[in-house]
Amino acid sequence: MNEAMAFVIATPLLGAMVAAVFPRQSHWLGVLSLILNAVAVGLLLAFTLSQGKSTMVLGGWQEGLGIALHADALATLMLALTACVALAVSFYATGYFHNPRDAARFWPLWLLLVAALNGLFLAGDLFNLYVTLELLGLSAVALTALGGKRESIDAALRYLMVGLLGSLGYLAGVAILYTAFGTLDMQQVGDQVAVDPASETALVLMTGGLLLKTALFPLHFWLPAAHSNAPAPVSAALSALVVKAGFYLVLRLWTEVFPQAVPEQGALLLGVLGSMAILWGSWQALRAQRLKLLAAYSTVAQLGYLFVGLALLVITPAGAAHDLVFGAIVLMALTHGFAKSSLFLAIGVVQQHAGHDRIDHLDGTSQRLPATTFAIALAGVALIGLPPSGAFLGKWHLISTSINGGQWLLVLVMGIGSLLAAAYIFRVLGHAFGEAAFASRPVNNASAEWPALTLGIIATLGLGLGSAWVWPFLGGAA
């Protein structure tokens, strides 16, 4: 399946190039290259489903000398999430960026961002991950700045500084690992890691850098401004995909490279920080005056669940319970990816129609934009974790594992978090379904509305009803 893997990375890179060289044609060139990307991801997913994990060492060298790419169940699921969200965001973006100049900037950067994500999910090499992280960071920052307002530029600059600090922290860890083990290949490093100062310090430096990039409480300070001041399609991608990349790497490092060196206290710390992220993020989302800020703080909270899940994963001994938690984390990450991108795209539609996104002034939205309001409701169901969404199953397994392990505090936190999430979602829906001061006709703007709706349906129904195969897929490949 080498071709599929190479095309997964090459299609968005090529797309970025042609979109930059032919700026007037960038809309359809961009969409076309992401369709091709989705086809390549589909092939890879089908292959991985039937044959299991596949590996390609680039340049045909032996692993270690050349850079290895691995497509396993986790990586292909993340690729599939990226491909779907990227397509929906792209269709939305064709209507969002009317000005050809904005479009000419957006498409190359957006395609480079997708290429960085794809590269990151497949990479099996620590330094290559650094390069993909920087590609991801720089293109995300540049996209955030497309907002053009002073707040957007300010947020983008802070986002850039934080991102650079994070990736240099990560790189410092890689430097220590290379000093100790003389290799950058993740499997080869993983074979040599032990409980020693070099491994432990590298783990701390790399995790610290990634936590900064993935905005785990209290390192989330930069996220709300960046995610709420970017253009709507960019916000969707940042919240649904980019912060997930940091979490994905932490998950990989902790479970595959450093399992020997991860101390119990590390899991405890992540659990505590994750819990605080759930409570603080949900609380701030409830207090937010603007819809986009609400969605951004909700991302802070949702990342908390993922890290609580990771903490549970570390303390659960290998076996059926361990696999259950692993699947639950992946399912929650996927659901949040679909749900949050749906929410941000829907907010973008609301903002363009109402001219603002102040929650208190949204009354009557449901009459004007029924499809978009429905999308917000669907995304909300998934964010709260109600059945039949994928998050319901994920959260259910996390809570039941906590109960079995006697982690009552975590059970309490996840319960409160769900209640707060319900409160902030219903606050929005309450206004949206409220009576408007002025009666207005419903608007039907299908091209802008259907991407959000589709993503919402996948988050709530698709992943909820189809989630049964996630565990065997992950288990079979592990």
Partner: protein, 98 residues
């Protein structure tokens, strides 16, 4: 006896710490950009020190290539940061004029 590899490795960590300190504490964005560049040089120095195998022995070429990549990435990030800062000052001036 302190060998060159150790000396320069520790120097790199020291430089990186100085850069980290200033990146967090400085307020002026140009100074923070400068600081993060020095932080980067510190990390690169650890790589190059590791690659050094003593006098007369060929050094490990892999970290050299990594640092070359890192230098280009650093200058790209610096350029983007400075352009953002320039735009911010432009917008600030416009809003002051109003």
């Amino acid at each position: 006896m302190l060998d060159a590899s150790t000396l320069y490795g520790l120097l790199g960590i020291f430089l990186a710490s100085l850069g980290l300190h200033a990146t967090i504490l400085q307020r002026d964005i140009l100074r923070r950009i400068l600081a993060i560049n020095i932080l980067g040089v510190g990390v690169f120095l650890v790589f190059i020190a590791t690659a050094y195998n003593g006098p007369g022995v060929a050094p490990d070429a892999v970290p050299h290539a990594l640092v070359l990549t890192g230098i280009v990435v650093a200058v790209a990030a610096t350029a983007l940061a400075l352009a953002l800062q320039r735009r911010l000052e432009m917008l600030r001036r416009e809003s002051d004029d109003e």
